[in-house]
Symmetry: C2
Subunit: 308 residues, 2 copies
Amino acid sequence: MTPDVQLLLKSGAALTDQALERLLPSPDTSPHSIHRAMRHSTFAGGKRLRPILSIEATRMVLGSQKLDAAAAELGAALEMIHTYSLIHDDLPALDNDDLRRGQPTCHVVFGEATAILAGDALQTLAFQTISRLSCPPAATVAILAAVSDAISTGVGADLPGSLPYGMIGGQVMDIESEGVKASAELVERIHRSKTGALITVSVVAGGHLASASEDTITRLRTFGEKAGLAFQIVDDVLDMTQDSAQLGKTAGKDTASDKATWPSIFGIDQSLHDANELIADAFAALEPFGAAAAPLKSLALYLTTRKN
Amino acid sequence: MTPDVQLLLKSGAALTDQALERLLPSPDTSPHSIHRAMRHSTFAGGKRLRPILSIEATRMVLGSQKLDAAAAELGAALEMIHTYSLIHDDLPALDNDDLRRGQPTCHVVFGEATAILAGDALQTLAFQTISRLSCPPAATVAILAAVSDAISTGVGADLPGSLPYGMIGGQVMDIESEGVKASAELVERIHRSKTGALITVSVVAGGHLASASEDTITRLRTFGEKAGLAFQIVDDVLDMTQDSAQLGKTAGKDTASDKATWPSIFGIDQSLHDANELIADAFAALEPFGAAAAPLKSLALYLTTRKN
């Protein structure tokens, strides 16, 4: 990790956290339980990767930081969505996880009913936040369409300008594939849906905020898709090769639950090779932006060389 | 009920159902389970009151049916949100209802995990639908802001143009108030939040779709707030006075669960008197629209004279 990336991560996370602090209802606002639950999970130590990708995409397109306030709010909205998906994923009826990043999960602290509603409310707050972004209405509508498609069941593909994969669709496929021998195609589809779609749309939405051209949006989407898939492949490899202390979460979970992952199908060496190829493709998509693309490129590199 | 209202309800429900049929992913689209779960609950016999209010608000402002295709899609989005809230409300961790409108609830048929995700996906699909409405981007943004506020925890009040009550906030207060002696103020706040906010925003969003003026939006909001509260009061009265066969759902549930309701605090006579006063206020708000307001007025009257 170069010092540059450490700075990018740190300053991007700080910018996002300030926006989240401002946008999330205070823990003293009635009804208290849900607002405390929303904050508990949002401020549980996430790296803010999606907001940082979104903020850097906006900066790259603009060539400046002049939309940083709106970019931070858009980033906060993306993090609210990510948090909502984690809260619901951790529920007893789904993954039944008691711990995340070393902290008790939302339903453990606040009960299942409040956790379900806190997830619901974080999705809603993300759209409230998008509705108030300081940008032209046409940019807001483009962000709304792209983000809502990306977190859908993955059926927006026949709609113009939409993504062919959706986060909830990925979660459903993930649940359905447990204990089943999954094909390489299914593993790729799950990855592109469950984690890839939100990562991709983070980059794309950052571009829309800056009213990017259609060609630029296409390039950002390619970058996001490639980097997002590489990120998930590396995540799977880390789950197999690192111990829980290094990861900050339970290692070896995929193997224990007999989950089909990239390395379980292709092996670790091939997986790391694939991740590197994807990063090369991601870099190529941003070629026309020259030096302005350096932050997004170093983030992509970080995603595939990190150790946790 | 006048023949007029029966026709309004029937034709509005048909228009909404056609839009829902088109917008909801086919049951044969992968991943199947979630798409079937979304359809199971959406097509479980709802009256489509929120879409019909929204469609009639658009027609009243325009003085024509020329936006009917978009109005039906907006109505469908509102019904998706209503359905998502019912699916999550019925979950074992919340109301634990096995039946709704005489049919098994979503988690009974598809399991809890799929029901949670189907609710999530219906909220998302509502926003995907709003993002594609055929109207000026500024109208879409106004609809997005109003709808997302109305289904929030109720904290949008400090934001310009937002509603002070939110659906999820109402659900949380409802859960928290069980077994507690609730004040009249709390019962009113729960009603205005849990059911009132979505009914109100249905009327308001219909106005935004027609690019209504600020004064018209204020009048529509007053109409929706008054009619929505009257609707909930009558709902509480019906729960106390009708049997399950007449209601099509379990009667006496509020009394059995010791839930604070309008008639439990004020008595049945006073409740019906209050509902009538609210309807008079709702009518007054639409005075300037003359005969064009007749459909919305007869819907409001229907809401307070229905027997189930």
